[in-house]
């Protein structure tokens, strides 16, 4: 299983979620392939996944989690 954390450098929420998410993924799945994607290096890929907020998590190329927006509700 390929798990990708989409993050932005300097994003505090991304850094605080990172260790816990990785631990959880490795605890649940034996053959997890963990990778971290800098959104600024892969913006098109992130948009293709449907990422609008950070951090976001994709499993096998599908978006499964995105953080709530940092913006206030309109």
């Amino acid at each position: 299983m390929k798990v990708e954390l989409i993050y932005a450098p300097g994003c505090a929420e991304c850094m605080s979620a990172r260790a816990g998410l990785r631990c959880a993924a490795e605890a649940v799945v034996a053959d997890v392939e963990w990778s971290e994607v800098d959104v600024l290096d892969a913006l098109d890929y992130a948009v293709e996944l449907g990422v609008l907020t950070l951090p976001a998590l994709a499993i096998d190329g599908s978006l499964v989690f995105a953080a709530p927006s940092t913006w206030p509700a309109a």
Partner: protein
């Protein structure tokens, strides 16, 4: 009738750093109505009002108007601009907080562009299907395609 006195034209003459709404609007290349709307949205308040109720703005107001206009040009909504202004006044906030919001806005814009490209491609397909423009409206393939229940021509999301 509650009569108001004339606008305080002298205010800016006496104190060049004080602007009436008209002067601020002219300097910021924006309408007075937009300035009132910014005020209603909590983005820009007059420093004070005259006895007659006319708004008077301080010297930082023009900078604020320019900030709002630049942010709007980058795609930020007024609610988002209010949040940016709030961050600016928050001691705990740092540049990364602003940066993350800018990155998320960039993602939203890219998603919108993608969606609009998809709409544009769907329209291109419809236009290509209607090569014979002299057909009656009843036979128009564009209208027929838009009526399709399966949504085959709908833009991909």
């Amino acid at each position: 009738m509650n009569r108001r006195c004339a606008p305080p034209a002298l205010a800016s003459r006496e104190n060049p750093s004080v602007l009436t709404i008209g002067k601020l609007a002219a300097a910021g290349e924006i309408s007075p109505d937009a300035l009132r709307y910014y005020e209603a949205e909590g983005l820009l308040a007059p420093a004070t009002r005259t006895a007659g109720g006319y708004r008077l703005y301080g010297e930082d107001a023009l900078r604020r108007v320019r900030f709002i206009k630049h942010a709007q040009a980058c795609g930020f909504t007024l609610a988002e601009i209010r949040e940016l202004l709030h961050l600016r006044q928050t001691d705990k906030a740092c540049c990364n907080d602003v940066r993350q919001r800018a990155i998320e806005k960039r993602l939203q814009l890219a998603a919108k562009i993608r969606s609009m490209q998809s709409m544009s491609a769907a329209l291109n397909r419809l236009i290509a299907e209607c090569a014979d423009g002299s057909q009656s409206v009843d036979d128009c393939p564009i209208l027929a395609a838009l009526e399709q229940i399966d949504g085959g021509t709908a833009p991909a999301r």
